[in-house]
């Protein structure tokens, strides 16, 4: 039996959030945390709300705070998080809670959109694809794989305090994904939108982002590259 403590909040019936304990029979298996949530919802309380989709760590739906650390429930085995037979699941920190484990990600997505996360190239494209050397393509590795799960940004104190002004690790990782793309020609314009004291420079190298990223990506490093580009750009 696993003791599972869930953060519950229903806007229609709760004044304030509360923790609710469940005892879940895992049959001694090293399930994923998402499997445990599915057990709670199917057997104990169908009103528990959480997001899930691919259940294999690529869609980014089920970012949660499990025993104090952000991660994807579907690829986090119990053996990795459970301490003393107990599992505490809370919603991602710092964003408003809609209900139970579901947070309002509007601010997170807004910061993503702010970096204009799409290729910009005004030149007429060729008949076939634009050519890119394998070396140039390699620069996108570690950047394009982001699944927008928000584990990083919601573990970042700078994002907690200024989610409307600091772009946050996820948005900045995507910002650099386009700055680093040999096919993108909007580098100057992109950089000029990042020069203010908040967008990039709220990053203090805390590295919570890199410590929680379920895809093993490193926003801190990408932000370092952006800072370097901003420096050489301002000279």
């Amino acid at each position: 039996m696993l003791q599972v403590s869930l953060y519950r909040y229903s806007p229609e019936s709760d004044e304030a959030p509360r923790m609710q304990d469940f005892r879940v029979d895992t049959a001694g298996k090293d399930l994923m945390v998402l499997d445990v949530l599915e057990l709670v919802k199917s057997q104990l309380d169908s009103s528990v709300a959480y997001r899930r989709s691919c259940r294999e760590g690529v869609c980014g739906s089920d970012g949660l705070n499990m025993n104090g650390k952000n991660g994807l429930a579907c690829i986090t085995p119990l053996s990795e998080v459970v301490r003393k037979g107990k599992l505490v699941i809370r919603p991602l920190p710092g964003l408003p809670v809609i209900r139970d484990l579901v947070v309002d990600m509007t601010l997170f997505y807004a910061q993503y959109e702010k970096v204009e996360p799409y290729l910009q190239n005004d030149e007429t494209p060729p008949e076939i694809e634009r050519l890119q050397t394998p070396e140039d393509r390699e620069k996108l590795d570690g950047l394009y794989e982001c699944i927008l799960c928000a584990c990083c940004s919601t573990s970042c104190p700078s994002f907690w305090w200024n989610p409307d002004r600091f772009i946050g690790p996820a948005g900045l990782l995507q910002s650099y994904r386009f700055l680093a793309d040999s096919r993108d020609t909007a580098t100057e314009e992109r950089l000029s939108k990042l020069e203010d004291p908040f967008s990039v420079f709220r990053c203090h190298g805390i590295q919570n982002c890199a410590s929680v990223c379920p895809k093993g990506l490193n926003p801190t490093k990408a932000i370092g590259h952006i800072k370097s580009m901003l420096l050489s750009n301002s000279n």
């Binding site: 104190p157 700078s158 305090w161 002004r165 004291p197 420079f201």
Partner: protein
């Protein structure tokens, strides 16, 4: 919010923060190199009143002012905001920032008096 930042630009603030820290680091080492082995009034006073050391002290003082301003501005715009404290946030932050700037100017004037023995 940017209006009260030191240089109003993230890039320049960032460079200033780094440059000032290097100056203060060097200055701290210089002072430590005299203080640590043990010193007396004559040696200490002779060291500190050389023109280059007086200039260095002044530079370090200014670096400290800039460094503290940028650092504190960051702290205040993190915690003392409308988001964190409600509508009071902005006014309280301006008050605190004003107080900090006044204190830093006081440090500056005081420091210059000390350094140049006025």
């Amino acid at each position: 919010m940017n209006v009260t930042s030191f240089s109003r630009s993230g890039v320049s603030d960032w460079i200033l923060q780094r440059a000032s820290s290097v100056i203060m680091l060097a200055y701290s080492l210089a002072v430590a190199s005299v203080v640590i082995p043990g010193t007396n009034y004559e040696v200490w006073s002779a060291f500190m009143t050389q023109v280059w050391m007086r200039s260095f002290s002044t530079l370090a003082l200014i670096a400290m002012i800039a460094h503290a301003w940028i650092g504190l501005w960051g702290v205040l715009t993190d915690y003392v905001t409308v988001r964190m404290l409600g509508s009071l946030g902005d006014r309280l932050r301006f008050c605190l920032l004003f107080f900090m700037v006044a204190l830093l100017i006081l440090y500056l004037v005081w420091g210059i008096f000390i350094i140049w023995g006025l």
